[in-house]
Structures are given as structure tokens and as C-alpha cells.
């Protein structure tokens, strides 16, 4: 994908001009006189978002804000787990950065070391039609906003329309029973589906938590401490999984994050759960690669099937972490205001092509959605995200359970016959309880 510099450029002047036309002015109006941040420094820790333009726009915003405010802004990028360790180091030492891109769990884990940004969150919410529930769960601790949600990358069912048709399934199933039936037919045709059951940090959770919730299972009660995994809903989810696993492509218990992408791109699976990167990458290569063009022509994205308890999805939410140790709180706030300004955020969302979507209700009616019909479902997926830890918030207990793949392994142990479904649930309950007990000390 090429970068349109004219599109990427967001000057402070344009930002102010846009703000003048916007109904809500406060976010786009500079709260400080130009240049009053001169001499101050702001270091931002970030990763690499998949769509390159979203990274370029962040750099451009930083450059424009630096020029107009006189503040020296540096965006430091880290790959994968490095960002997490760097953030942990800033939290531990109180030095090294003022802001960082984190995920929802970080808000809870580091709450005591983050600035309260409730006033900013309220203002952003007002300007964009209010925050969605998942966003509130991701950033509010004890009723206060300790981080600001950036966006989420919804994971959809990526499915091969040609393979489904060949197996006698005309559309993607809307129920879990329908999905099981389709999986049988697809397996018989030699084009099985595959769901990640390995220790994949992204796909492991986005594939498995929605199954739990759809059948009425949950990890915790609303207090976020009482373990509630052992329930008829969870057992039903495990039993469904055990049955459909027979019709999967072999090897899904060892799948790491790239494996389902590779299997789908090689036409070894007819359906899998993934963000829209398989499609975006294939579309970008389709002009010169016939195999990729075939994928693009014959794939689509579908919403999760509906279960007895409803239709849910799960993906982590990226958030801005405003470090309390920052000596430049004014600069921190100024950057966040610029980020959420009407001239920046909608544009950033649009170039992201639904790979990253802010959880702001008002965006549903704004011009931020991709034209490509095969990307339309992500608008709906954006509304059904639940976070690990449900029925409570995404606490450190829930984070540890995610990091230890307790839920994924519960399904995997039952699917592979290592434990009966009932024993697998009991195993998970014990592990959850132990994590909760250890964490209750702090």
C-alpha cells in the first residue's frame, strides 16, 4: 500500500480550521497558547500497527504538534513483546516515556501509576456520541478513566465462499449448530475449517472467548474476583467445541498467531477466525499474484454465529497510557487532545480500513468506514466486543488467565481427549481460583 502524503498530513492549522466547523469545539481548540510547551519533551512509546498509514499519521501528528507547540516529541517504536517490556520498565523506574500504547489489561495492572484523564475521556465521549461499553471496561478503574481507548482490531470469520458453496453451504452459518453442520460438510469435501487452540497470544483469545460467552459461560462474577467458569454454559461450550474439533484441519492445538493465516492463504482451510489482515494483504498483492487474487475473489468476512446466550466477539483494545511519572503532564494532555480532535481521529480511523476502530458510538454514522463490501462486517463486529474477565472487568486476574491460556487450554484438553469436558472445566476452575487467590493478596 502506498502512502498518500497529502492525506497523511495533518497540520495544526488545518486541525484548528476543522475544529471551528465542528459542533463540539473543546477538543480541537488549543487549551494552551502556542509555544508555551517550548523546551519541554514528550516521549511516546508505540508499536507498529498493521496498516502503515495509521503509523504514518501518528508520526505526522507528532511532527505537527511539535512544530506548533514548541514541544520536542519523539515516537519510539518497538516490535511485539518489546513494547510491553519497555512499558513495564517505565512503570518500574518512573523514567523513559510520557505516553505509551498499551492494551486494556495495562490500565488495571498499572492503574496506580497512570494519570487520571476522566475529564478528557468525558470530552471525547461527548464529541463522538459516547464511549461503547467495551471502551469503558478497558479504561475505567474504580469509576475513573486511567487510560484512553485508541481502537480495536475486530476478528471476523474469514471464509471461502467457493469452498462453502462446493460443500453445499451457501452462506456463513448464523448459529453454532449451523457452523458445526457446515464444518462436517466441509470436512467431508476435504476443505476443513480451523480454529486456533494453541498458545497464540492474539488469535488464541479472539477465537475462544466468544465461544464461551455465546453458550452463556463466563469467567468471573461482576465483582471480578469470584470465579464463575464452572457453569452449564461453559460445559455446553466445551462440548460443542469437542464435537466440531473432529472436523478441523489437524494441528490446530499447536497453532500460533501466523498459522491460521498461512493455512487460509494456502487454501488448506475453508474458514478461520482472524482480523482483516489476510484480506488486506491479499488485496494488496492481488494485482501481481494470481493465487492471492483467487483468495480475494473467493473469500469474505462473516460475523460470529449466535449462540444460546447471544453473539459476541473478543479482541484487545489498544489504549493510551498516560504515565503519572511524566514531568510533562501538559504536553501529555495536549497530545491526547490532538489525537482525539475531529480533524485527526476520523481520518486516522478511515485510513485504518476497519483494522483499527475506535469504540465511539457516534462513529457508526460518520464517514470512517471502508467502501470495500468485503470489509463491511467489521462495523457490526465493533459493537459486540467483550473483554476477558467478563462478567467482571479485565482485571490483572483475567489478564494472567489470558496470558496463561487457561481458557484456550480448557477447550484444547477436552477437544484432544486429554480430559473429559467436565474435567476440563473443573481443571480451568481450579487454575482460575489459584490465580484469583494469589492476586487477592495485592
Amino acid at each position: 500500500m502506498t502512502q498518500d502524503r497529502s492525506q497523511a498530513h495533518v497540520s495544526r492549522r488545518k486541525l484548528l480550521a476543522g475544529a471551528a466547523a465542528a459542533p463540539a469545539l473543546s477538543l480541537a481548540t488549543p487549551s494552551i497558547a502556542q509555544g508555551t510547551l517550548k523546551g519541554t519533551k514528550l516521549t511516546i512509546l508505540a508499536g507498529q500497527w498493521y496498516v502503515p498509514q495509521t503509523n504514518t499519521l501518528l508520526d505526522q501528528l507528532a511532527a505537527d504538534l511539535a512544530r506548533d507547540s514548541g514541544m520536542e516529541i519523539r515516537v519510539e517504536r518497538f516490535a511485539g513483546d518489546e513494547l510491553m517490556t519497555k512499558t513495564a520498565s517505565v512503570i518500574g523506574t518512573g523514567r523513559g516515556a510520557d505516553l505509551a500504547v498499551g492494551v486494556e489489561f495495562d490500565t488495571y495492572v498499572y492503574a496506580a501509576k497512570l494519570n487520571d484523564v476522566t475529564d478528557l475521556a468525558d470530552e471525547v465521549g461527548k464529541n463522538y456520541g459516547g464511549w461503547m461499553d467495551a471502551a469503558k471496561a478497558a479504561s475505567m478503574v474504580g469509576g475513573r478513566w486511567k487510560s484512553l481507548p485508541i481502537g480495536q482490531a475486530p476478528a471476523a470469520w474469514n471464509w471461502r465462499t467457493d469452498m462453502f458453496r462446493a460443500a453445499g453451504v451457501d452462506k456463513f452459518p448464523d448459529t453454532f449448530a449451523g457452523l458445526l453442520d457446515a464444518a462436517k460438510k466441509l470436512h467431508a469435501k476435504g476443505t476443513p475449517i480451523g480454529m486456533t487452540l494453541g498458545h497464540a497470544s492474539g488469535d488464541g483469545r479472539s477465537t475462544n472467548y466468544p465461544v464461551l460467552w455465546a453458550f452463556g459461560g463466563k469467567e468471573f462474577e461482576a465483582d471480578g474476583r469470584t470465579v464463575a467458569i464452572n457453569s452449564p454454559g461453559t460445559l455446553a461450550a466445551v462440548e460443542w467445541y469437542k464435537e466440531i474439533y473432529q472436523y478441523f484441519i489437524p494441528g490446530t492445538t499447536a497453532w500460533l498467531d501466523p498459522d491460521n493465516n498461512q493455512a487460509f492463504l494456502a487454501s488448506k482451510v475453508s474458514a478461520t477466525v482472524n482480523v482483516n489482515t489476510i484480506y488486506l494483504a491479499s488485496r494488496a498483492a492481488a494485482a501481481t499474484d494470481a493465487a492471492r487474487k483467487n483468495i480475494v475473489d473467493n473469500m469474505d468476512h462473516a460475523n460470529w454465529p449466535s449462540g444460546p446466550a447471544g453473539r459476541f466477539a473478543n479482541y484487545n483494545i489498544n489504549v493510551w497510557l498516560p504515565f503519572a511519572s511524566s514531568p510533562n503532564k501538559a504536553g501529555q494532555r495536549e497530545f491526547l487532545k490532538a489525537w482525539y480532535s475531529r480533524t485527526f481521529l476520523p481520518k486516522w480511523t478511515k485510513v485504518g480500513q476497519s483494522y483499527f476502530i475506535p469504540q465511539l458510538a457516534g462513529f457508526d454514522s460518520e464517514d470512517v468506514w471502508p467502501e470495500d463490501p468485503k470489509l463491511k462486517i467489521f462495523r457490526d463486529l465493533n459493537k459486540i466486543n467483550r473483554l476477558p474477565g467478563y462478567g467482571g472487568p479485565p482485571t490483572p486476574v483475567a489478564a494472567e488467565a489470558v496470558n496463561k491460556y487457561i481458557l484456550v487450554d480448557m477447550f484444547a484438553k477436552a477437544c484432544t481427549g486429554q480430559l473429559t469436558p467436565r474435567d476440563a472445566v473443573a481443571w480451568a476452575e481450579k487454575e482460575y481460583q489459584q490465580i484469583a487467590r494469589r492476586r487477592s493478596r495485592t
Binding site: 513483546d81 510491553m84 517490556t85 513495564a88 512503570i91 518500574g92 495492572v109 498499572y110 492503574a111 496506580a112 501509576k113 487452540l197 494453541g198 498458545h199 497464540a200 497470544s201 484441519i249 489437524p250 494441528g251 490446530t252 492445538t253 499447536a254 497453532w255 500460533l256 498459522d259 498461512q262 493455512a263 494456502a266 488448506k268 490483572p396 489478564a399 494472567e400 496470558n403 496463561k404 491460556y405 487450554d409 484444547a412 484438553k413 484432544t416 486429554q418 481443571w427 481450579k430 487454575e431 489459584q434 487467590r437 494469589r438 492476586r439 493478596r441 495485592t442
Partner: protein
């Protein structure tokens, strides 16, 4: 008079006394010894002793990334023992270490004996043998990941295409085989070190001893048993202890291949410690997990140090 001209600077006699004291200090063998060892001791204190004592402190606390926590004694260790994941990890770590070191030992010694023989391109082969040891862990692991891939394994492709198997092996999917696969990669990486170290030991054995034993009628096996093995043993033991320590604390290979899966079948203490301490922010427990390795490693290190001291004295 002298006081006015020498204000702020030592007079000649004072300088002489100081120089003499410094000279005495340097001349004294005992003092010079301490002086020369001081930088190393300082480095060890800063780089080893301090982090180590901090880790012990963490392991005895309920510290998290955001909270300094309080002293909880051995509670972390007690709670850990109740976790089936931890117990499984402990078992995996011992199997992983024992299996990998056994393979390293057999293949390493065998390879060293072969490399000690004369053949064409011996130097090139010796250099090539080192490749797995030289290649960065991540790169080597990525290559093995492709070879073990659940759906695209090149090893399975060869096995199936050659008609030896119908489906190939579930290298990383089957829990038992997955543990074997990760220890195999660890062994692959460690064999060159063992081989080259033992080879160095073999080359230090005087050839006269082999000639003498041959004259006495010793066969190949007897020469190996009664000449090679006793003389190469000190080097072999050193390589063995180092291999055990490195394997016991290995992180990169397991994390790169499986992240501890499937179903924790390949988790080792280092990966579980990372998952708990850093990824989940539970520093106290993470430190406790990593310190589980301490007693085993400590015994090995003390044994090794005593052995080195004995051989030095001898």
C-alpha cells in the same frame, strides 16, 4: 615560610611518605592481590550479586509491576506448588534438560571423536559443525518452526512423499512429541559446543599414550575406555555442567516454537516465569518460578567449582 608557599599542596616529605605507602601497598603480595581482584569483585557485586539478591527479595514478596508489595515469606512457593501448570512445567523442565543433555552428550562426544580423525576437508567440516551454535537462537528456531509446522512441515512432506508414512508426525501438536521436538532443537543447538569442547580435550591427549597402549595390545574400544575417556573427562564434565545450566534456563527455543503449548506440554520454568512475571505483571511469583532452578543450579555450580579448585591445586 614553607607553609606560605605550599598552602593547599602537600610538601615534598608528605608526598614521599604517600608514595612510599602506595609502594608498600603494591609491594605487598597480599594487598596487591586484593587490589587486582577488586574490579572483578565490584563488577560481580553490581552485575550478579545485586540483581540476584533483588530477585530473591522479589520472590519473597507479592510485588507486581505497579506495586512494590509486601514480604510474604515462602508463600509464593507454596501457592505455586498447588498449581498443576507449575508442577507440569517443573516436570517438563527436568525432562527437557535431561533429554537434551543426553543427546548432546552422545552426539557431541561421537562427533568429537569423528572430527579428531584425519579426513579431507576436516577444517571446513569442523567450522560447519559450529553453525547451529553460531546462528542466532531466533533464526534457528524459525527454521525449525517451519520444519515442524502443523500444516506445512517439510519433514512430514519428505516422510509422506517418500512413502515412509501416510500422514507424518504431529511434531508440535501431540503433547509428548512436542516436548521431544523442543528438546531436539535445544540439543541441535548445543551439540556443536559439546563436540568442539571435547575435541579440544581430545587434541590435548599426547599421542604417545595411544602408541603405548597399542603396543600393549589395546583395541580401539580399550584405548577409548582406558586412555581417551579418563583424560578427556575433566573437559567433558565442564561442558556437561555448562550444558545442564544453559538448558535448564533456556527460554528462546521453547518460546519461539510453542510458547509453552500445546496445553502447557512444553512449558519450562523460564517461559512460565516470563508469562507470569512480565506478561502478567506478577513479579513476585515470576521471580519465585525462576528461582526454582536455583537449588539444582547451585549444586551443580558448587560441585563444578570444587572440582576446578581440586584440579588447580593438584
Amino acid at each position: 615560610m614553607g607553609s606560605s608557599t605550599t598552602a593547599g599542596a602537600p610538601d615534598r616529605s608528605t608526598r614521599t611518605v604517600r608514595r612510599s605507602r602506595l609502594s608498600d601497598l603494591v609491594d605487598s603480595e597480599r594487598s596487591l592481590g586484593y587490589l587486582l581482584v577488586a574490579p572483578v569483585v565490584l563488577l560481580l557485586l553490581v552485575l550478579v550479586a545485586y540483581p540476584f539478591s533483588v530477585a530473591i527479595g522479589y520472590a519473597l514478596s507479592d510485588r507486581t509491576l505497579a506495586d512494590p508489595g509486601v514480604f510474604v515469606g515462602l508463600e509464593n512457593f507454596v501457592l505455586l506448588w498447588e498449581s498443576s501448570i507449575y508442577r507440569q512445567t517443573l516436570r517438563n523442565t527436568f525432562i527437557f534438560t535431561a533429554g537434551s543433555v543426553a543427546i548432546r552428550l552422545v552426539l557431541g562426544v561421537g562427533l568429537a571423536l569423528l572430527l579428531n580423525e584425519s579426513f579431507r576437508f576436516r577444517r571446513a567440516v569442523r567450522a560447519a559443525i559450529l553453525l547451529p551454535w553460531i546462528v542466532p537462537t531466533v533464526l534457528g528456531t524459525m527454521a525449525w518452526l517451519w520444519m515442524f509446522n502443523p500444516n506445512f512441515s517439510v519433514l512430514n512432506y519428505i516422510l509422506v512423499q517418500s512413502g515412509l508414512m501416510e500422514h507424518g508426525f504431529n511434531w508440535l501438536t501431540d503433547p509428548d512429541l512436542a516436548l521431544f521436538s523442543v528438546l531436539l532443537v535445544n540439543a541441535w543447538r548445543g551439540v556443536p559446543f559439546m563436540a568442539i569442547t571435547v575435541l579440544a580435550g581430545l587434541q590435548a591427549i599426547p599421542h604417545d599414550l595411544y602408541d603405548a597402549s597399542a603396543i600393549d595390545g589395546a583395541g580401539k574400544f580399550q584405548r577409548f575406555r582406558y586412555v581417551t575417556l579418563p583424560l578427556v573427562m575433566p573437559v567433558l564434565l565442564t561442558a556437561l555442567v555448562l550444558s545442564i545450566i544453559w538448558t535448564f534456563s533456556d527460554f528462546g527455543i521453547v518460546y519461539g516454537l510453542t510458547k509453552g503449548g500445546p496445553m502447557n506440554a512444553t512449558h519450562v520454568l523460564a517461559t512460565l516465569s516470563y508469562q507470569t512475571g512480565l506478561a502478567s505483571g506478577n513479579i513476585g511469583e515470576g521471580a519465585a518460578i525462576s528461582l526454582t532452578m536455583l537449588p539444582v543450579l547451585l549444586v551443580l555450580i558448587i560441585w563444578q567449582l570444587r572440582r576446578i579448585r581440586r584440579s588447580t591445586v593438584a
